[in-house]
Amino acid sequence: MDALYRDYILDHYKNPRNFGTLEPHDLEFHDHNPLCGDELGVHVVVEDGRIAELRFHGQGCAISQAAASITSDELIGLTVDEVERLDADWVIDQLGIDISPTRRKCALLSLKVMRGATTGDPSWPE
C-alpha cells in the first residue's frame, strides 16, 4: 500500500464527507493555495456558540480534499475558541500520514479556511 495515498485518504478524496454548500449559513470563508491554485471554501452553521454543521467546497489534490473531509466531523461540535486553538499538528495527526514540506499547505488549507470563517484569522496555521 502507498505510504501517502492510503485507502482511507483516497476514500475521503473520492467520497468527501460534509462536502457541498449550506444555505443558509452563518459563517463562510474562501481561499486558495497560491502555489498550486487549489481552492477551498467553507459554509458554517453555528448554534449556541458551537459548530452545528459545515460544508467544504472547492477543488484540489487528494491531500487537501482528504484533510477537509477527515477533519470535518471533528470540527462539528467545537466552539469557536476551540477551533482557534487548533494548529497544523492537529491536522497532520488527523491525516495520519507523513506530509512533506511541499505538500504541507495542501494539508493545511481546510483548517486555514475554517479558522478564516470562525475566527476571522486568514493566516496559515502553524
Binding site: 502507498d2 501517502l4 495515498y5 483516497l10 473520492k14 502555489l35 498550486c36 491554485g37 487549489d38 481552492e39 477543488q59 484540489g60 489534490c61 487528494a62 491531500i63 505538500r103 495542501c106
Partner: protein, 413 residues
C-alpha cells in the same frame, strides 16, 4: 513511428552527470526543462574557471586581470547577440526575463502609455508577462486587454486585427512559445500587424530561444526577452534585445554605478547602450556562463535541437493518449508547438500525478505554471506538464507513460 529520438542529442552521460543520479535506485527522468534546464559540464566548468582564474570587477579596472574579465563578459554578450541575430549594443543583460519585461514596462511604458491607451496581451501569458502590464495600466489609467486562446491553444489573427483596428493599442506583448500549451505563436505576423497599427511589440521568448533557431530581426519585435537558465545557462541572467532607437530614448530603469556617464550633485547623464540599463556590478560569471551555454547549443546546431525537441514532442503526443482518462492541452500538430506538453487525468489532481511520478524518479511539474488566467480559460485549476531538452530521449517519455499508468493504479483508476 520508427526510431525517433532513440538517444539524447548529446552525450548526456559525459555532459550532464546530474542525469546519472538515481533516486531510490531509479534512474532520474528529468522532464521539467521548461522550468529550468540542466547545465552541461562545459557551462559549469567555464563558470568555475572564470572564478578560479579570471575573476575581477569589470569595465573600470585598468589592470590586465580586469581587462580579461571584461573581455570574457563582453565577448559573451557579442556571441549571445549573434546567436539570435541582434546587435551587441542593444543586447542588455538583466536578472531574468521577468526583470527584462519590467524594465520595458517601467522605462518605456511609464513614458509612453497614457490613460485611454490599451496594452494588449494574451490569455496564454506567464504571470511575468501579465503583472508588469497590470501595474502599468493601474498607474497610467490605460486598459489591459487579452487576446483569447482557442480550444486548440492558438491565438486568432482576426481577433488581433479587430482589437488593433480600434487604434488605441500602444503595446502588444505575447509569448513566442507558451510555457503551458507549447503553442508556437506566429511572431512575425503579430509584430508586423502591431507595427502597422502604431503599436510597439514585446515577445517573451523564454521557451523559444532554448529550443529553436531564432532570428530576432526577421521576427520583427521591438523588444525580445529570454532567460539564461532555461537555455542550459546559469540562473541570475536574462537578456533583453531592444530596438536601439527606443532604448536610446528610454529613461534608465535602475540607477547606480556603471549606468552613468557623469554624476553631478543634482543629476547625472547616462552611459551608452547597453550599459545605460545595467546598473551596479553585472552578473559577470553568469554572463560568461551563458556565453558557454550558447556555444554548446551552437555546436549542436539549433536546427538539430529543434528537430530533436519536435521528435520527442511528437512521440509524447502519440503515446500520452494511451493513458485512460487523459486530456492533452495545446495544438495537436508538433510543428505548431515547442517541447512542452500539458495534460490532465480524470480522477487525479495534477499534484498527485506529479507526486506519484516522483516515486518513479520522473520529474514533471504540476500546478498553474504561473499562468492562472490561462488555467481559467482552459477550465482547470492546474495541469501536469512534461517538457524536454537535448538530454532527453524517447525512453524518458516511456518512463513518463509507465509512471502515469502506475499512478492511476494507486488511485484505483
Amino acid at each position: 513511428m520508427g526510431a525517433v529520438a532513440e538517444k539524447p542529442l548529446v552525450d548526456s552521460r559525459a555532459d550532464f552527470p546530474l542525469l546519472e543520479r538515481q533516486f531510490e535506485g531509479k534512474r532520474l527522468v528529468y522532464l521539467d526543462s521548461a522550468a529550468t534546464s540542466q547545465k552541461p559540464r562545459q557551462v559549469i566548468e567555464t563558470i568555475e574557471r572564470y572564478y578560479r582564474d579570471s575573476n575581477a570587477n569589470i569595465h573600470r579596472g585598468v589592470y590586465a586581470l580586469a581587462r580579461e574579465a571584461t573581455e570574457l563578459f563582453e565577448n559573451g554578450r557579442e556571441r549571445i547577440a549573434a546567436f539570435v541575430g541582434w546587435d551587441t549594443a542593444s543586447t542588455i543583460f538583466t536578472k531574468n526575463a521577468t526583470e527584462a519585461i519590467n524594465l520595458v514596462a517601467y522605462a518605456w511604458g511609464r513614458e509612453n502609455v497614457r490613460a485611454g491607451d490599451e496594452v494588449l496581451i494574451t490569455q496564454m501569458e506567464h504571470h511575468s508577462n501579465i503583472v508588469p502590464w497590470q501595474l502599468l495600466c493601474q498607474e497610467t489609467g490605460a486598459r489591459l486587454r487579452y487576446l483569447s486562446v482557442s480550444d486548440q491553444g492558438e491565438l486568432s489573427l482576426d481577433e488581433l486585427d479587430s482589437v488593433l483596428a480600434g487604434g488605441r493599442v500602444r503595446l502588444v506583448a505575447f509569448a513566442h512559445v507558451s510555457n503551458v500549451l507549447g503553442t508556437l505563436n506566429p511572431v512575425e505576423e503579430i509584430t508586423r500587424r502591431a507595427r502597422a497599427a502604431g503599436a510597439v511589440s514585446l515577445v517573451d521568448a523564454s521557451q523559444a530561444v532554448p529550443q529553436m533557431p531564432v532570428d530576432v530581426r526577421e521576427l520583427g519585435p521591438d523588444f525580445y526577452v529570454w532567460t539564461g537558465h532555461k537555455a542550459l545557462g546559469p540562473t541570475g541572467i536574462g537578456v533583453l534585445h531592444g530596438r536601439a532607437e527606443l532604448l536610446r530614448e528610454m529613461r534608465p530603469f535602475l540607477g547606480g554605478g556603471d549606468m552613468i556617464s557623469k554624476v553631478e550633485f543634482a543629476s547625472s547623464t547616462w552611459n551608452e547602450l547597453p550599459w545605460k540599463f545595467e546598473a551596479g556590478t553585472s552578473p559577470v560569471a553568469e554572463g560568461v556562463g551563458l556565453g558557454a551555454a550558447i556555444d554548446y547549443l551552437s555546436v549542436l546546431g539549433m536546427d538539430a535541437v529543434r528537430a530533436h525537441e519536435r521528435e520527442l514532442t511528437a512521440y509524447a503526443l502519440e503515446r500520452l493518449p494511451e493513458v485512460d482518462g487523459i486530456r492533452v492541452f495545446g495544438p495537436l500538430d508538433p510543428d505548431r508547438r515547442g517541447g512542452v506538453v500539458s495534460f490532465a487525468l480524470d480522477g487525479m489532481h495534477p499534484h498527485d500525478i506529479a507526486e506519484l511520478c516522483d516515486r518513479e524518479a520522473v520529474c514533471i511539474r504540476a500546478g498553474h505554471h504561473c499562468a492562472q488566467p490561462l488555467m481559467r480559460s482552459l477550465g482547470v485549476a492546474a495541469t501536469a506538464r512534461a517538457s524536454f531538452h537535448v538530454y532527453n530521449a524517447r525512453e524518458d517519455v516511456d518512463g513518463l507513460i509507465e509512471a502515469l499508468q502506475k499512478a492511476r493504479g494507486v488511485f484505483g483508476l
